[in-house]
């Protein structure tokens, strides 16, 4: 079985939101949900159920740094779609469709959303474009029926749901699927020898133009700190008389 894992480089969400972020240069990392997807692919291979894991990302040469991390985790080879423009989820899904058609994986595992854009669209769009089944927000994956189906536990607003999807399929990962491994030094050494294939959209035979554009970005109004109360009695009084909420 061949697994394709699309992943995105994002600014380190821990660093970007830390108090001192303004003075340090924010560093990029693999989107945490995609890192979970990579980890899951590795575990499937370690169970003897997959033979090859191909990673794919879209971006300028700078994202090679995150590709090396994916390769160091254990991804066999990687593809970078050379792209400098800001893309929207639908453009990304259309590029990934071309990659899927070229690579013909048995399953695509990817994060449910990128923590910078928070759109949560690409996996579902890719499944729609390909006409493949999808299981989103998964916290457990098992391959069944001689790897013709995947049984997935999904995290939904109403609780856990189990579905089975016929392969090939798109699976998008939720937080509790696994805990990604740390990159080891030997892994990093091996990663240097692994191939990164660089392709343009032209070479993939796809031309996409994003249909959504971010016009501006602003900070939302901040909530300011309120009152310190010293006791349960004072809190109850405030909630009753000032906030009138109980």
């Amino acid at each position: 079985m061949k697994i394709l894992v699309p992943f995105k480089s994002v600014l380190d969400p821990n660093e970007a939101t830390a108090a001192g972020a303004a003075v340090s240069t924010p560093k990029s990392v693999i989107n945490p949900f995609d890192e979970i997807a990579i980890e899951e692919a590795l575990r499937v291979r370690e169970r003897g159920e997959a033979t090859e894991i191909v990673g794919v990302t879209i971006g300028p040469p700078a994202v090679d740094e995150q590709i090396r991390v994916a390769l160091a985790m254990g991804v066999d080879r990687a593809i970078r779609i050379d792209e400098f423009r800001a893309l929207d989820p639908y453009a990304v899904a259309r590029i990934l469709r071309a990659v899927v058609e070229k690579e013909a994986p048995h399953v695509v595992i990817m994060g449910k959303q990128a923590v910078d854009d928070d759109s949560n669209q690409v996996g579902q769009m890719l499944a729609g474009l390909l006409g493949w089944p999808q299981a989103t927000f998964v916290s457990k994956i098992e391959f069944l029926g001689n790897k013709t189906r995947a049984r997935c536990t999904r995290e939904t607003d109403a609780g856990l749901e189990i579905v089975e999807v016929d392969l090939p399929a798109i699976l998008t990962t939720d937080l509790r699927l696994n805990e990604p491994r740390y990159v080891s030094l030997p892994g990093l050494m091996r990663a240097r020898r692994k191939p990164i294939e660089v392709l343009t959209c032209d070479q993939l035979g796809t031309s996409v133009r994003p249909l959504t554009t971010v016009l501006s970005v602003a900070r939302p109004p901040r909530r300011s700190a309120g009152t310190r109360v010293e006791s349960v009695e004072e809190l109850i009084t405030k909630l009753k008389q000032e906030a009138k909420v109980i």
Binding site: M125, E155, A169, V217, A225
Partner: protein, 320 residues
């Protein structure tokens, strides 16, 4: 006539109220809007929707739609959007809509905007405001093309009034036999709770890692929620530690709530969690650590040990 088509979510018994908030955005867009209902055995639910000022309640009712399978639902939604000439197809931000609508967008060859909190007319076209980076920033997004799909943050739009003259209920006919068949529903965890739904509750009590275990969490967070008639929420850490089920998680990747009163017990205030609570009217934070970031946004802050404070709080409320 260009119209909006609003996907309404239900649990087979009744409409999920947050999904009605998308109607308020459709009203702001102007023009007609229809409500779209998918499932099986929908007569009662359809009848409950006729007074929201829609041009019609469009009902796709078939045994093949008994479970919300993304491949089938997206196919039917895309077909309904095409037949009705709908320009904007919208649903409320929920795992249901987020699973299905992006797939429908691909079938319609249209872009999508997630988690819309406001719309604005700019340069003759509608732009959409949405939170990004765990709600730490707000982006203004312009969309090209005739058709677009949206998910709408329920907390950013009022519940619409149901006071219009009744509209017709129209059956949407489609070829059920030709629907995709690649996803099979196996089971759903059924958990009965007498507490209100987290996203609809007037009061939400949430707990973090210091609650230790499931029993303590239930005793303190559950006990306070029950004293106030509220719902229970949790941080990612508490869910990861097995103290609370996954659907209690509030934040960037969980639910977004905006109750009248939000009480945070032992929650330090990671930005990912704050993203899900910051529109609450009153936020009470109880935490041992006086430097906890949540105190920077709490309406009322109480520094102390929750193992002492919460039982006192429960008792005082019960006595009152």
């Amino acid at each position: 006539m260009a119209e909006s088509l609003i996907l309404i979510e239900h649990d087979c018994q009744q409409v999920k109220r947050p999904s009605l908030h998308a109607i308020t955005l459709a009203r702001q867009l102007g023009g007609e809007y229809a409500l779209l209902l998918l499932g099986h055995g929908l007569d009662g639910i359809a009848a409950s929707l006729v007074s929201y000022g829609a041009s019609a309640v469009v009902v796709a009712d078939d045994p093949a739609l008994a479970e919300p399978l993304a491949d089938r639902y997206a196919t039917v939604i895309a077909e309904a959007a095409r037949k009705r000439g709908a320009k904007t197809i919208l649903g409320t931000s929920s795992t249901f809509s987020k699973d299905i609508l992006p797939r429908a967008a691909a079938l319609l060859d249209a872009p999508m905007v997630t988690d819309v909190v406001a719309i604005e007319e700019m340069e003759g076209s509608i732009s959409y405001r949405r939170p990004i980076n765990a709600g730490s920033m707000l982006a203004m997004v312009k969309v090209e093309g005739e058709r677009r799909l949206l998910t709408v943050r329920a907390t950013a739009f009022e519940l619409p009034a149901a006071d219009a003259a009744p509209c017709p209920i129209k059956r949407f006919d489609f070829d059920a036999a030709s629907l995709p068949n690649g996803i099979q529903f196996i089971s759903r965890e059924e958990r009965k709770s007498d507490r209100p739904d987290l996203t609809e509750a007037r009061v939400v009590v949430s707990g973090g890692r210091p609650l230790k275990d499931k029993e303590t969490f239930e005793r303190l967070v559950g006990g306070l929620a029950d004293a106030l008639g509220g719902a229970i929420g949790a941080t990612r850490a508490a869910v990861d530690a097995g103290m609370a089920p996954n659907d209690y998680q509030i934040g960037q990747t969980g639910k977004v709530v905006a109750p009248e009163l939000y009480i945070a017990l032992g929650i330090s205030g990671a930005i990912q969690h704050l993203a899900g609570i910051k529109d609450s009217r009153i936020i009470v934070a109880i935490n041992k650590d006086p430097e906890a970031p949540i105190f920077k946004m709490a309406t009322y802050a109480l520094v102390g040990d929750l193992y002492q404070i919460v039982p006192q709080l429960i008792e005082s409320i019960r006595r009152a």
